[in-house]
């Protein structure tokens, strides 16, 4: 017990992060299935809901407020505790020192500290489910004034919102500490003779991700502190004047909700690259290994990674096209957003170039890597539409946006996690995962996510708003109900398919075929140690 509580061993810390993100993912998936069920059967009763939320789901019927709370927590858990933890902190802590020939991270104490802070942040967030008032309902973006007014703004906006902010603040500190550790390790602890350019591409992606974390999370932390002050100290950073909520005049004045949006999205856009870049690194390595060829255009891949990271810091305004900002600012953000497509295309074409003429082995890790490429392209294409301010005026806050970010950030990044799990399982657990179960899991998930998220684009272009707990009352949305039924069915099938992964994971840990040497004939250093 002491060994795990006070460990500074990078492998144990990596595994701790892995299990934390797995638990978070399971909770996030359950929340999403509940949401999808409610959307198509809004008045139906689920006895389980009443047992968990006796007030918010009296009679087992989900209230609109409960739906919005589940939506908020789903987004927060998935973005922070799955996508920002598993690809970078989990696999990074475990594999990075091995890949660069180091005997550990630069600051082992920071490894343990960053994990326990992350775990504490997770527990604080989850506690919002069980406190009076429940979890917040302002979305993972927590826009003021809704998130700044306190319990008068709605259930969950009292202590629940405060716990959310505290959780995110602690997570931000943990992420910055982790980023410092990654950067120092990558720059200073490579084994003798390993020049920077000779580092594996996964390490380059971890480096750029760490730099983005270093620059982005402090901004989120500052915004969180200011929001806490508005909520509890009576300050006026984000709350404008003239508000009347529940027939009560709000005495705050002078603040700007747009200020929060700028601060949040300055972090929020690099965050999506924090979620996806490590997955890109894994995919690069997996494609190279299972094509039997070195990656095509290695130097360009490194430059593209930096370009994505750098440009990612400049485009936050494309989340705010409908906020009333100057159209000239919109043009600038739009042009920069289009520009990110260039290094992304470079990476995609280089993956294809690596595959071309290669001796491809279609095992599970490779299938997930190829699936990543497919989903990344699909999700990325819808981003080109959203990057046009004129189109975004219509598409903003519709299901088109939900489809876009779920494909490119949710699914693609998760495919990267699956690829990494199957690929590095022999190192992490000394055994091989079952290929048959893995392939079944892949095909069910791949088909399931496309069935779930492709029709969502149709719903979005038809004008289906997002973040509505119930749209069966709207006549213009009635024709879209069959699409939602289909998507909900796909969501159930996809969620059930993950059981295959869990069975494979836990069974293989105990009974999988023993792994020896380099089972994939890979050439990076982690397989030689």
């Amino acid at each position: 017990m002491r060994r795990y509580l006070f460990t500074t061993d990078h492998k144990i810390v990596g595994l701790q992060y892995f299990w934390l993100s797995l638990i978070a993912a399971l909770i996030g998936v359950v929340l999403s299935v509940l949401m999808r069920y409610h959307l198509v059967y809004p008045g139906s009763s689920l006895p389980l809901l009443q047992r968990i939320w006796p007030t918010s789901a009296a009679g087992g019927v989900m209230t609109p407020e409960l739906y919005l709370s589940l939506m908020t927590m789903h987004g927060t858990i998935m973005v922070f505790f799955v996508l920002s933890v598993a690809p970078q902190s989990a696999f990074g802590h475990y594999l990075l020192p091995l890949q660069i020939g180091a005997n550990g991270m630069a600051f082992p104490l920071l490894s343990g500290l960053s994990f326990w802070l992350t775990a504490a942040a997770f527990l604080v967030l989850l506690s919002a489910f069980v406190i009076p008032g429940g979890a917040p309902l302002s979305g993972w973006t927590a826009y003021p004034p809704l998130s700044a007014l306190g319990s008068i703004a709605g259930p969950g906006e009292g202590l629940g919102q405060t716990l959310w902010i505290v959780s995110i603040a602690v997570f931000s500190v943990a992420s910055v500490l982790g980023a410092i550790n990654f950067i120092a390790t990558l720059l200073e602890k490579r084994r003798a003779g390993m020049r920077l350019l000779a580092m594996p591409l996964t390490c380059w992606n971890w480096l750029v991700t760490a730099i983005l974390s270093l620059l982005g999370f402090p901004v989120l932390l500052s915004a969180g502190v200011l929001l806490l002050m508005d909520r509890h100290a009576g300050t006026n950073f984000f709350i404008p004047g003239g508000l009347v909520v529940s027939d009560q005049a709000i005495l705050h004045k002078g603040g700007s909700p747009l200020l929060w949006q700028h601060l949040f999205w300055f972090f929020g856009h690099p965050e999506v690259y924090i979620a996806i870049l490590p997955g890109m690194g894994v995919v690069t390595e997996v494609i190279s290994t299972f094509s039997g060829r070195p990656i095509f255009g290695r130097t360009m891949m490194i430059l593209a990674t930096f370009a994505i990271g750098f440009l990612g810091l400049l485009v936050w305004g494309h989340h705010m096209f409908t906020s009333g900002m100057s159209p000239y600012s919109s043009i600038a953000f739009s042009v920069l957003t289009m520009t990110i497509g260039v290094p992304s295309a470079v990476k995609t074409l280089n993956w294809i170039g690596t595959l071309w003429g290669g001796r491809i082995r279609f095992n599970t890790a490779m299938l997930f890597a190829l699936g990543f490429v497919s989903i990344f392209v699909s999700g990325g294409l819808s981003g080109i539409f959203l990057g046009q301010p004129v189109l975004d005026l219509y598409l903003h806050d519709t299901y088109f946006v939900v489809a876009h970010f779920h494909l490119i950030m949710g699914v693609a990044a998760v495919f990267g996690i699956f690829a990494a799990t199957f690929y590095w399982f022999p190192i992490m657990f000394g055994r091989m995962m079952n290929e048959r179960l893995g392939k079944a899991h892949f095909f069910l998930t791949f088909i399931g996510v496309y069935c779930l998220f492709l029709p969502m684009h149709v719903a979005g272009t038809a004008g289906n708003p997002r973040r509505y707990p119930d749209f069966t009352n709207f006549e213009f949305l009635a024709p879209l109900l069959p699409i939602h039924l289909f998507m909900t069915a796909a969501a159930f099938v996809t969620a059930l398919a993950q059981v295959l992964f869990l069975v494979n994971l836990f069974w293989s840990m105990r009974r999988g075929k023993t792994a020896t040497g380099s089972p994939w004939a890979a050439e990076t250093l982690e397989w030689t140690r």
């Binding site: 410092i180 932390l221 500052s222 002078g254 700007s256």
Partner: protein, 173 residues
């Protein structure tokens, strides 16, 4: 001062200084975000009342500059001489923090948005100063050259940060 050889020390020194630089970048982003929020908030509303001008905040920089001077002397010394320098530096840092808190007495949090920002920014500065005092005491305990060097760079950075923040709050009001 250290039992490790110079060859062994160099990679460790590089890691520490790189980590410190990374931490500095993160801190810079934190204060950049807060100061940009300050600039925006000042520009958009009509309820802005500038902070009362005062020399005490700027006087509080003097003891912390003294900390940096003592640390630069300490780096040239050997133990046990450096312990005296480090402890004196810790005392000066404490005095600087007390002077910051003295300024708090004359400002009310809700008097104006400028006062609200003062408390947020100065609290953040005090957190870093407290960490700096902890680092000085830690350096006393270990008396390693790497630690003293890192702490001296840290205090140089904190001094520059203090000057910048106070300039925003009390000069560009």
């Amino acid at each position: 001062m250290d039992s490790m050889s110079a060859v062994e020390l160099e990679p460790r020194r590089n890691s520490v200084l790189t980590g410190l630089a990374a931490a500095g970048a993160a801190t810079t982003m934190l204060f950049a975000a807060l100061l940009s929020a300050y600039v925006v908030r000042r520009g958009i509303s009509d309820d802005w009342i500038p902070l009362p001008s005062s020399a005490v905040p700027f006087a509080s920089i003097l003891p912390s500059v003294g900390v940096s001077l003592l640390l630069s002397r300490a780096r040239k010394k050997r133990p046990p001489a450096i312990t005296g320098f480090l402890l004196t530096a810790a005392v000066l840092a404490g005095i600087s923090a007390m002077m910051h808190l003295w300024v708090w007495k004359g400002i009310s949090l809700l008097a104006s948005p400028s006062a609200s920002f003062f408390f947020v920014l100065d609290s953040a500065l005090l957190v870093y100063m407290a960490a700096g005092v902890f680092a000085l005491l830690w350096a006393c305990k270990g008396r390693k050259a790497i630690t003293v060097e890192a702490v001296s760079y840290y205090w140089l950075y904190v001094n520059a940060l203090c000057a910048l923040v106070l300039a925003f709050l009390f000069v560009w009001r």
